[in-house]
Subunit: 427 residues, 2 copies
């Protein structure tokens, strides 16, 4: 195929007519397909069959530490679930605090605590004139929503195939004491599916922050969420690397079973240094008597250990892979060589990130919506919903069926083409 | 029996010898009895048998609104559990927000939101020089811990048999714009078991706060926790009364199933006006994608409705009543007429509140501990752990067996006598 930029005005106009006709045809199908959120499909939820049978009224409700899981107590989680989450996160259970049903809430609470009380005796962020966070972009909208909520200024950091631009990260973190944090999804990043290289992780661990209360918010959301059994990425353990580098307290790591067991009723965990844990627990003991231990016990007994988790994740991958492959196949077949978009083929995670020609993302998302295909709002992958190039679009293939993803992607590529032609004609 | 104050010095000294001998005998038993927290006993937890069987892998996981409870979504709770909690709290489901496993966390979050962002557009409390809360005393230590955590100045309000001293409440709330809240446990109060009279509730509803963001924190923790089927107290619905009084937004009401189903894995709820709900949800949507809907569904299907809850609570009462009665019997038999302590006979809730002679509470708790009986720390029922009279002691009869409560109370009364005699001899 010829790149669109090489087409003459006449060719573009003719192409537009063809595309418009095809678009109207698709629109007439009256589809209603949602690719907007990283949400497992109803059938995929069946993967966790049996989870609801692990605990019944005949079960021994005692944790291995002797606590009755039905009763009050146990602020930081029962030992068996701490061990499970530690194995999943590649750390040890002494680093773990077990949260409620969502790591998002653990992240919110961590920022909120820093805002109201400060981290480990430092000034509460609400008392400072300026607090900044670095935000590798494109990134996860709910991260940015938390920092925006607390009035924290967000600075875009470009991503490369090995992770965030570490020159820029080092320069900002090591020189500016108002830079207090950075949001990272180090493995199968949301939305690009990028995995941080060993060098990137080590450069993170070796930061020399100007702010004593600078923290890396390491959201390891897709830590075991591989698509391919024979092509799995492993990244370095940030907690261990930070310890080695003499920065043991510099990272809060987060993970959950939301996309392992059930999204609405999983178990979440924070992994961090002993000093950070003690600091956090002083606050958590005011906020809660402890999270749901029955659900913790259910998860610990169902998955047993890392092997159990890995076996389980293969079943999820079997659901996810065809959707990713269908989507990528349509993108390749329809857009390769046209010069109107680029994407990365992910090996795990929940998303495909698409970069359209500058100034086209919003129009593409709107066109898709008109034809019944719901995408995450353009700009959502950037702080303040502001994609300076109006280029990035997040595709979430998990919820629809593979057939629906095929249909949806066909409409998507059509909209990409149509909007790109329009853009070229206007320029 | 003669009141201790009427005994001669010689009589007191002789009595002390007798009491000391008896105390040493008890101490030699080497008991280990915990009356410190309002925590159901292991056997009492068996009341909720079947709860863990309601949802299994064959269950329809759809809420009546069509949402798959396993998946993401539904910020404020599924309709069937909202209805259940509304019935329990004596309000309507449009007032309800469903939280996680603890109403304590809902209360913490509500104060935290007011601190970081302000209530309904008012100045965030973190930006104010002074924020005050009224604290009816004795009260619940975890309430006071939340307000202390946020640097909120707490003002003691005396309790009477009809609720807090409303003259004092009205004077302070209606004149001082730095008074932003009051902690209330309106039914079977913690620790006295006092129920607010209709007049008290109406005076609350008719407050004319100097602060627009003044809120009543109405912790209806024991709303259906009666001890006697034929002697149940009902209090007025504060939300309805506030609406009638033209103060619809003045109250946040809280409740949970912690002492209905399982303390560690129940369902919590906040009930408040539509405007407060909208304001809270703007924040919660940043903090969570929604709480555990599988557990919500489990509770809704197990209890079904208010009748189901009431039937269930009778079984709890059957466990609790003997413990309360044993404790009260020993108190009456051993202390009536001695003039060294007073208590109220509760009709529900989880506690008995004991008022010793001034300056004796700490010493009594310490003496009990020495003999293997753990009580809530003296002073814990007051803000800053400071009981100005060092008089109040909270007794929690729920965890030990009736036999153990008998033993523990015998030791308790012995310690009360011993410390009182000592006090009288010193004065």
């Amino acid at each position: 195929m010829k790149a669109y930029s090489e087409l003459s005005r006449e060719e573009l106009m003719e192409l537009r007519e063809q595309l418009l006709a095809a678009y109207e045809e698709k629109k007439a199908l009256g589809l209603n397909l949602d690719m907007s959120r990283g949400k497992p499909s109803p059938t995929q939820l069946g993967v966790s069959v049996g989870l609801m049978d692990v605990i019944n009224s005949d079960s021994d409700m005692k944790s291995e530490c002797g606590i009755d899981c039905r009763n009050y107590g146990c602020l930081d989680g029962i030992p068996e679930v701490k061990r499970l989450m530690a194995e999943m996160m590649g750390t040890t259970e002494d680093h773990i605090f077990i949260g409620g049903n969502a790591s998002l809430t653990l992240m919110f609470d961590t920022v909120s605590r820093a805002y109201t009380h400060g981290i480990m005796g430092e000034t509460p962020w609400c008392k400072l004139d300026k607090v900044k966070f670095l935000c590798p972009v494109p990134g996860y909208d709910r991260h940015f929503a938390i920092t925006e909520h607390f009035g924290i200024e967000m600075i875009n950091i470009p991503m490369s195939e090995t992770g965030p631009d570490m020159d820029m990260v080092e320069e900002l973190v090591n020189s500016d004491p108002t830079v207090k944090g950075i949001w990272c999804v180090p493995k199968y990043s949301n939305p690009q599916g990028i995995c941080y290289s060993d060098e990137t992780v080590r450069r993170f661990a070796n930061l020399r922050p100007a702010a004593k209360d600078f923290r890396i918010f390491w959201d390891n959301a897709y830590v075991i969420h591989h698509l391919y059994e024979d092509n799995q990425v492993e990244i370095l353990d940030i907690i261990g690397e930070c310890e080695k580098a003499g920065n043991p307290d510099m990272v809060f790591e987060f993970a959950s079973t939301s996309k392992v067991s059930f999204p609405g009723s999983g178990v979440s965990a924070m992994a961090t240094s002993h000093a950070n844990l003690e600091d956090a627990k002083k606050h958590y003991t005011i906020q809660t008597i402890g999270n749901d231990k029955v659900n913790q016990l259910r998860h610990a007994r169902y998955f047993k250990n890392l092997d159990g988790l890995k076996e389980h994740m293969k079943k999820h991958a079997d659901f996810m892979r065809p959707k990713f492959e269908t989507t990528l196949k349509v993108l390749e077949e329809e857009l390769d060589g046209l010069g109107i978009g680029s994407w990365i083929k992910p090996l795990g995670g929940y998303f495909i990130s698409f970069d359209a020609m500058e100034g086209c993302a919003k129009a593409i998302v709107a066109k898709c919506k008109e034809a019944g295909v719901i995408l995450t709002g353009a700009g959502a992958t950037f702080p303040y919903h502001n994609d300076p190039k109006d280029s990035n679009i997040r595709i979430a293939p998990s919820f629809p069926t593979p057939e629906e993803m095929h249909q949806a992607t066909e409409i998507f590529v059509l909209c990409v083409k149509l909007v790109s032609v329009q853009k070229l004609l206007e320029s």
